[in-house]
């Protein structure tokens, strides 16, 4: 196994779980998410030179994963998943407290929700999100601020 493949395998171990969670949130199908994860890494293997030169390989992998997920969703159905999908996922014992927040996130416009997910779900930096979404860092900040203000409105009105 050469250096590039070893590097890719290391990234798979490090970034793979986060990417899988991100892909699950995107497509809502655990099996499809696993396939998309493998497709993401095969896509990365096809352009391994770019991966080795990338400033943030993690951001680059998220960008590939996002494209793979978008292509999958387009192929599967003509529209993006309904925002309410988030509200329907993974109810837990503590979900009463989080329910308004979950609903608020689900009701966010797609660009705001996606940016918020990449920041607080995948823990990407502002610059990495900008790279993944191919938008300026200023736009990332502005989207995050709008999203957080909406979620805050739901979170603080939640009876504690």
């Amino acid at each position: 196994m050469d250096e590039a493949t070893t590097r890719l395998e290391t990234l798979y171990r490090d970034v793979g779980p986060g990417l899988l969670a991100y892909l699950r949130r995107c497509c809502r199908e655990p099996q499809a998410a696993e396939d998309l994860l493998q497709e993401t890494f095969l896509g990365a293997a096809r352009r391994i030179e770019r991966l080795l030169k990338a400033v943030s390989p993690r951001a680059w992998l998220y960008a590939i994963a996002r494209n793979v997920a978008v292509t999958h969703l387009r192929r599967r159905r003509p529209t993006r998943p309904m925002p309410a999908d988030i509200a329907a996922t993974a109810p837990t014992a503590a979900s009463d407290e989080l329910e308004p927040v979950r609903r608020a996130i689900a009701e966010l416009p797609e660009p705001l929700r996606e940016t918020l997910e990449l920041r607080l779900g995948a823990d990407l930096s502002y610059a990495e999100i900008a790279e993944v979404l191919e938008i300026p860092v200023g736009t990332v900040r502005s989207r995050l601020h709008h999203a957080l203000q909406r979620v805050r409105a739901a979170a603080v009105t939640d009876p504690e």
Partner: protein, 174 residues
């Protein structure tokens, strides 16, 4: 501090987007002002709950790394690079040979043109009287002419001597 700027800073802090220096400065500022500090806590609460929602534990097993497929792709990529290099070298060779041949043809054509344009120097000797022959001496052109005429048994108008390594020959009739 301006309210709008403070609000943006509070949100960035809640989102974890502030540098440690700015965060320390903001914390120092908030210690003196309770109202923005309370608003900051609200943003923190919202961010934490969002984090909780987005990272809610779901049973997840990472599928095995597709090593075989990645290696197959890698082999294909290497083969493609090799083919590309060979094709490049072949193209360079074809181009080089083609240019060389073209250049050679042009040079040959140029050489022919030059050769016909630059005809060899011709020594033309006119027939003169016998007295001149006598005075010219053994190495004179006139003597050579006479000798050539005697050999051929005729009198030509010209003696052509176009090369120092060839014997002179007789030219057109007068």
């Amino acid at each position: 501090m301006e309210t709008e700027i403070l609000k943006r800073l509070l949100m960035d802090r809640a989102l974890g987007g502030l540098s440690p220096d700015v965060e320390a400065l903001l914390a120092a500022y908030l210690e003196r002002d309770a109202a923005p500090a309370a608003r900051g806590r609200e943003f923190e609460l919202a961010a934490n709950r969002t984090r909780q929602v987005l990272r809610q534990a779901q049973p997840m097993t990472l599928p095995p790394f597709p090593a075989a497929r990645v290696q197959a792709l890698d082999r294909g990529r290497r083969r493609l690079i090799l083919l590309r290099n060979v094709a490049g070298i072949a193209a360079a060779l074809v181009l080089g040979v083609g240019l060389g041949a073209g250049l050679d043809q042009r040079l040959a054509a140029h050489r022919t043109t030059s050769a016909s344009a630059l005809s060899p120097p011709v020594l033309v000797v006119a027939r003169t009287g016998a007295e001149a022959t006598d005075s010219a001496g053994f190495w004179s052109a006139q003597r050579l002419y006479e000798q050539a005429c005697d050999t051929k048994g005729t009198h030509a108008a010209q003696l052509i001597w176009d090369s120092p390594v060839k014997a002179p020959r007789l030219g057109g009739k007068s």
